[in-house]
């Protein structure tokens, strides 16, 4: 069965627009197997240990388990991104309706990885929260607005960001990022799962 990722026709590996011969920005489509949002009626309810055995994600921070990243996006509300295609089912099993809710958004989000020394400067053109390394250090995550689009931004490292947007806006995110990256030069790498 043919599955078409939202940026498959745009983020074609090898494409790009360098400055001279340099491309300081590398773009790659993010293709996680699962993107799941879950929330608890009581904001203080911890994520079940069966899902996150270690530290809970702090507000606007991400916690990781093997193959997964968990983001705290609002009080009692989380987003989980991972390679486990059964993640939504596992969460539904772990979180009964009496505790909270689970929504599978896997097909509802497009993801883009932005890598390079000027990655923060590039995204700062659109994001109106502080991307300074001290203010938004690695493994920070938050929801924000970028060119009138709601986005979820995760900083994985000093120069590595993942940006998720509603699937229908994938093209507009791509247009915005590739335009904003013109001054740095950009290239496309293979999709990241």
């Amino acid at each position: 069965m043919s599955e078409l990722y939202p940026l498959a026709n745009r983020a074609v590996p090898g494409a790009g627009r360098p400055v001279g011969t340099d491309s300081a920005i590398t773009l790659a489509e993010r293709r996680p197997s699962s993107i799941v949002e879950f929330a608890f009626w009581d904001a203080g309810t911890p994520i079940p240990k069966s899902i996150v055995p270690g530290s809970q994600p702090e507000p606007n921070r991400a916690a990781t388990t093997p193959g997964h990243v968990f983001l705290s996006v609002a009080p009692g509300r989380y987003m989980a991104i991972g390679q486990d295609s059964s993640l939504a089912e596992r969460l539904e099993a772990a979180i009964p309706i009496t505790d909270g809710t689970v929504v599978d958004l896997t097909h509802g989000r497009a993801g883009l990885r932005v890598t390079g020394v000027p990655a923060a400067a590039l995204l700062q053109k659109g994001l109106s929260f502080d991307l300074d390394i001290d203010a938004f250090p690695p493994m920070s995550a938050t929801n924000g607005g970028l060119h009138h689009m709601s986005v979820t931004v995760i900083r994985l490292d000093a120069d590595v960001f993942d940006v998720f947007v509603m699937t229908s806006l994938a093209g507009s995110l791509w247009d915005w990022v590739t335009d904003a990256a013109v001054e740095y030069g950009w290239q496309v790498a293979a999709p990241v799962t």
């Binding site: 043919s2 078409l4 809710t101 958004l105 097909h107 203010a135 689009m149 699937t167 229908s168 013109v182």
Partner: protein, 998 residues
């Protein structure tokens, strides 16, 4: 004017890098670091522009952003930028500058005839000439007036340059990198705070770069460069030259524009021309300096009448002598120091004229040593010359300024005046602090801060190099401390001893012995004279705000930086009040002219806003669909076949639905996941009809009302489990509905355990409609019984479709047997193509918005054009859906008097005999086109109905039910249409719904 390049000197220029440029087509040379003004002055060009109204020749007045006169157009063609201040425009190789507002040439401007008519064109000219009975004359004369007066003209071609925007955050923002700003930055930098130092100049330093005093025993310019380099080496400091902070907004948010490539001859295509910065600073230090003010004298607009400091700065910073017979005039010690410093650079200074009878002896001695003639106890009363200054007339004056002797003529090519320095309080004022006038010092000072800023240096009246450096350091420490950082008390640099200034004379203007013949210009940019101010006072425009509007004083690109204070001073004198009592006008952004392109950034054209695409978008494009915007979405309008018109295309598509099967992309419908133990109760409250009784596996059409009883939205909600619904909304209202529901849960019913999530983009949604839809559906589902028994009308089933987990709901918008098929978004095209493939033998056709609209009009189903924010459920024939058994949003207001009664416009159908019914047309009784008659309603949607084989429409019509069978006219005078229509029931096709219940 006889400007010339000095043989040496010029802290800002690089004499090893000559540049060529043109002005009005003539080639000149300058140096790297020059401005257009300094290069033209060095080339001996005195007249740079013509004035706004009277086309009088004008030269360079200042050396900075306050310049009122020397405005030029820089660049050519689409890149021509008008009204650029030559004093701030950086020279680059092959720069092209052109003078403005002259015809046929700058030196011979026929429009200078306007100068003979100043009484006619004085203050209030437009108000007196084009008001009342003669207001129509404006339309006759407008073209000529606009041609005769004005400034530069913008290119009408699209701007080819790139502009960008970005955000910037810091602990301490310092605006201005003069002595105080630089010192503040150094103090704040040491604390570890994130510091941004923004300066509008090409090189940070402000007036330090033209300072003659030595700092730490090195030249001020060298010390400045060393400090800037030291600052730039701090990892926590960002030095931003060429960055004008032009706006101060609430919550310490400031706006700045960085000129990225304006100064480059070769502008790299990948770089923006300018970048707009939105700066959010925890603390701000405003070190914006001060503007020297002129002394207004008769003839003060002649090229060659300049500000004293500007003459010195051109010599010190650019190595340019503005003239060789410079006469300095002012009533304070600074004029003397400026004159002597200017003479020391090699500029010929002829005289100093000071109304004070006994100027400081040390200054007198220094001036004499420099060979400068001294005229103490005298004032310049007139500047003479035809196209430039050739001399000045001086007279002896008393301590109170009265003329006490005869006029004496002095030879001069430059008259350099100074009425002292006025703090630049623009940003302070924008931040909500009205300037406060210091009567003793004759200056406006910043008011009490209402944002988190403090001033440093001249902008709050701390003049003098040593004082400014100390004040800046204190401000920098204070800002860093307030931002939460620890600061230290580092030693200040050593400065040569500065002399204490003696008491100044507050001298803003000098009366001319020529009285009425005198031409004293207050605002040179807008040709506002002293007599205009007097006229405004005489005619009752005495408030400073009225003075500004009536005379245009202080308007335009310089915003009165060298004219406001003089104008206020004059008005205060005429009113017999102190300047402080008269007050100032309000300072508003931008502080200096800002390109609209920079404010827009990349939000233009293709990038003006995001566009939403459905999962099948690429297929639509590849298969002949004409796409049209529907809110933020792009949707297929029709799928053209070769040679088809729009009407032929949508009729073919609609027929396919009526006769066989069609598929439409309905992914744009809003989809909200509603979960929780209280989800049934929640839907009961937000919908007008009952949802708690809806069985699992069923869908129900629901109405939402606004609080005021007007219809808000409609759609179906599907019960997926006891505690979970999938709510669908109209495409247009997906976001408003979500926001409303979240608001209700957060604020009105926080006790309800309900969670919402938008899943609009999770699913690719396809409407499969037509008598053969069930047969087709059966071919693509894996584990769903689609028989009438297995999937009855309004049934919902979850299962697998083309092998993927999905849902099918038996719903009909077309009136035919129909289904909505939901598959995961990334499988949308696969499902779409599979449907087309499996339905080929059934005569399948994709259909777009036009056919979709046609089908719903035939059925009388309402959509966005009927849910227009004015209609009620009863208006649209849906009153039966307002539950009487439960409460719901809007119920309390739905039966208020204004929303009921016979005069309400209600939904009706219209037919026409062979003619299309214009959409939006007004319904009237008169058969006469153009008849002026009260409208009874309007057409909301129109189509050619393939089922009825005629033109039909839906309309909202007063007392519509009683009008069935009547003849009206759809009047559309804008498009010259007047069509006879017959009113009828809106359900044109299959009114009993039998076709969808098979």
């Amino acid at each position: 004017m006889s400007g010339v390049r000095l043989p040496s000197g010029g802290t800002l220029i690089n004499r090893d890098r000559p540049l060529t440029f043109t002005f009005d087509g003539r080639s000149y040379t300058g140096f790297e670091g020059d401005t257009v003004a300094s290069a033209l002055m060095a080339a001996g060009v005195g007249t740079i522009a013509r004035s706004f109204k009277y086309h009088r020749p004008r030269g360079i007045v200042s050396s900075g952003p306050e310049e009122p006169n020397a405005l030029v157009t820089v660049g050519e063609g689409a890149r021509a930028e008008p009204n650029v201040r030559a004093t701030t425009a950086e020279l680059h190789d092959r720069l092209t500058a052109t003078s403005q507002n002259r015809w046929p040439s700058l030196s011979f401007d026929l429009m200078s005839v306007n100068g003979l008519l100043p009484p006619v064109f004085g203050a209030g000219f437009y108000y007196k000439t084009f008001m009342g009975p003669t207001r129509g004359a404006w339309h006759v004369y407008e073209h000529f007036i606009r041609r005769a007066a004005g400034m530069g003209a913008a290119s009408r071609k699209p701007d080819p340059d790139r502009y960008e925007k970005s955000h910037l955050f810091c602990d301490v923002l310092i605006v201005g990198a003069g002595a105080a700003g630089l010192s503040a930055a150094l103090a704040a930098a040491r604390s570890g705070a994130r510091v941004v130092l923004a300066d509008e100049g090409a090189e940070p330093g402000g007036w330090l770069l033209a300072e003659t005093a030595r700092i730490n025993d090195i030249a001020a310019a060298d010390w400045t460069r060393a400090m800037v380099a030291a600052l730039a080496a701090y990892p926590n400091v960002r030095v931003m030259p060429r960055t004008s902070v032009y706006g101060y907004y609430d919550q310490n948010q400031l706006a700045a524009v960085e000129r990225v490539t304006d100064h480059l001859a070769e502008k790299p295509a990948h770089l923006p021309r300018q970048r707009q910065w939105t700066i959010r600073a925890t603390e701000v230090v405003l070190a914006t300096g001060a503007f020297e003010q002129p002394v207004l004298v008769d003839g003060n607009d002649l090229p060659g009448v300049m500000l004293a400091g500007a003459v010195a700065r051109f010599a010190q910073a650019y190595g340019v002598a503005a003239g060789q017979k410079v006469v300095f005039f002012g009533g304070h010690d600074g004029v003397w120091e400026t004159a002597v410093a200017t003479a020391d650079t090699g500029v010929g200074v002829a005289a100093i004229v000071d109304p004070r009878a006994e100027p400081a002896t040390d200054l007198v001695s220094r001036a004499r040593t420099a060979g400068i003639a001294i005229h103490a106890g005298s004032a310049v009363v007139r500047v003479t010359g035809s196209k430039s200054v050739s001399g000045v007339a001086i007279v002896p004056v008393s301590a109170s300024g009265e003329i006490t002797g005869a006029v004496e003529a002095l030879n001069a090519d430059i008259c350099a005046t100074s009425a002292g320095w006025m703090p630049a309080v623009h940003l302070h004022s924008q931040a909500g602090s009205r300037p406060v006038y210091d009567e003793g010092r004759g200056i406006f000072l910043p008011g009490e801060p209402r944002e988190r800023w403090r001033s440093a240096g001249a902008c709050h009246g701390v003049f003098g190099l040593k004082a400014a450096l100390a004040d800046g350091a204190a401000a920098g420490r204070d800002a860093a401390t307030e931002a939460g950082f620890k600061t230290d008390d580092a030693a200040l640099p050593e400065i040569e001893a500065e002399r204490e200034p003696s008491a100044p004379v507050i001298l803003r203007s000098v009366e001319s012995p020529r009285s009425a013949k005198a031409k004293i210009f207050v605002d040179q940019q807008h040709d506002v004279t002293a007599s205009d101010v007097t006229l405004a006072h005489r005619e009752g425009y005495r408030s400073v705000e009225h003075l500004k509007r009536y005379t245009t004083l202080g308007m335009a690109t310089d915003q009165g930086k060298t004219s406001n204070v003089a104008g206020l001073s004059m008005m205060a004198g005429l009113r017999g009040e102190a300047i402080g009592a008269v007050g100032t006008t309000t300072f508003r952004p931008p502080y200096t002219p800002t390109a609209l392109g920079a404010i827009a950034g990349r939000d233009a054209g293709h990038h003006i806003r995001p566009v939403r695409h459905t999962p099948m978008h690429a297929w639509h494009l590849a298969n002949g669909a004409e796409m049209i915007p529907a809110g933020a979405w792009m949707r297929p309008r029709v799928y053209f076949k070769p040679g088809e018109t729009l009407e032929q295309a949508y009729i073919r598509e609609a027929r396919a639905v009526r006769e066989s099967v069609g598929i439409a992309d309905v992914s744009t419908l809003g989809k909200i996941d509603v979960q929780g133990p209280d989800a049934p109760e929640f839907l009961n409250r937000v919908y007008s009809n009952m949802f708690s009784t809806l069985a699992v596996g069923k869908a129900r059409y629901g109405l939402m009302l606004r609080d005021d009883g007007i219809l808000f939205d409609d759609g179906t909600s599907w019960r997926l489990s006891e505690t979970r619904y999938l709510m669908t909304t109209t495409t247009a209202n997906a976001s408003p509905v979500m926001q409303k529901l979240e608001f209700l849960l957060a604020t009105v019913w926080p006790d309800l355990k309900v969670s919402l999530a938008s899943v609009s983009d999770v699913w690719a949604s396809i409407a499969v409609s037509g008598p053969k839809s069930r047969e087709l559906l059966a071919r693509i589902v894996d584990d769903i019984d689609v028989t009438d028994e297995g999937l009855p009308h309004l049934g919902v089933r979850q299962g697998h479709i083309i092998g993927q987990p999905g849902m099918v709901a038996r719903l009909s918008f077309s009136g035919e047997l129909a289904y909505e098929v939901y598959v995961p978004a990334r499988f949308g095209i696969e499902a779409w193509e599979t449907l087309l493939d499996k339905g080929r033998d059934l005569g399948i056709s994709p259909y777009g918005l036009e056919a979709l609209g046609t089908l719903r009009i035939e059925k009388g189903h309402v959509a966005g054009s009927e849910l227009d924010g004015r209609t009620t459920a009863a208006d649209l024939g849906l009153a039966g859906m307002l539950s009487k058994k439960k409460d719901f949003i809007g119920k309390a207001m739905v039966n208020r008097p204004g929303l009921i009664g016979e005069n309400r416009q209600v939904l009706v159908g219209l037919t026409a005999n062979g003619k299309g019914i214009p959409n939006g047309a007004q319904l009237i009784r008169s058969a006469t086109p153009g008849a002026v008659e009260r409208s009874l309603g309007h057409v909301t949607a129109n189509a050619y109905s393939p089922a009825l084989e005629g033109y039909i429409a839906l309309a909202l019509l007063e007392n519509g039910k009683a009008m069935h069978g009547e003849t009206l006219y759809a009047a559309d005078p804008v498009r010259n249409r007047h069509v006879e229509v017959t009113v009828r029931d809106p359900h044109f096709y299959d009114p009993d719904g039998s076709r969808m219940h098979v």
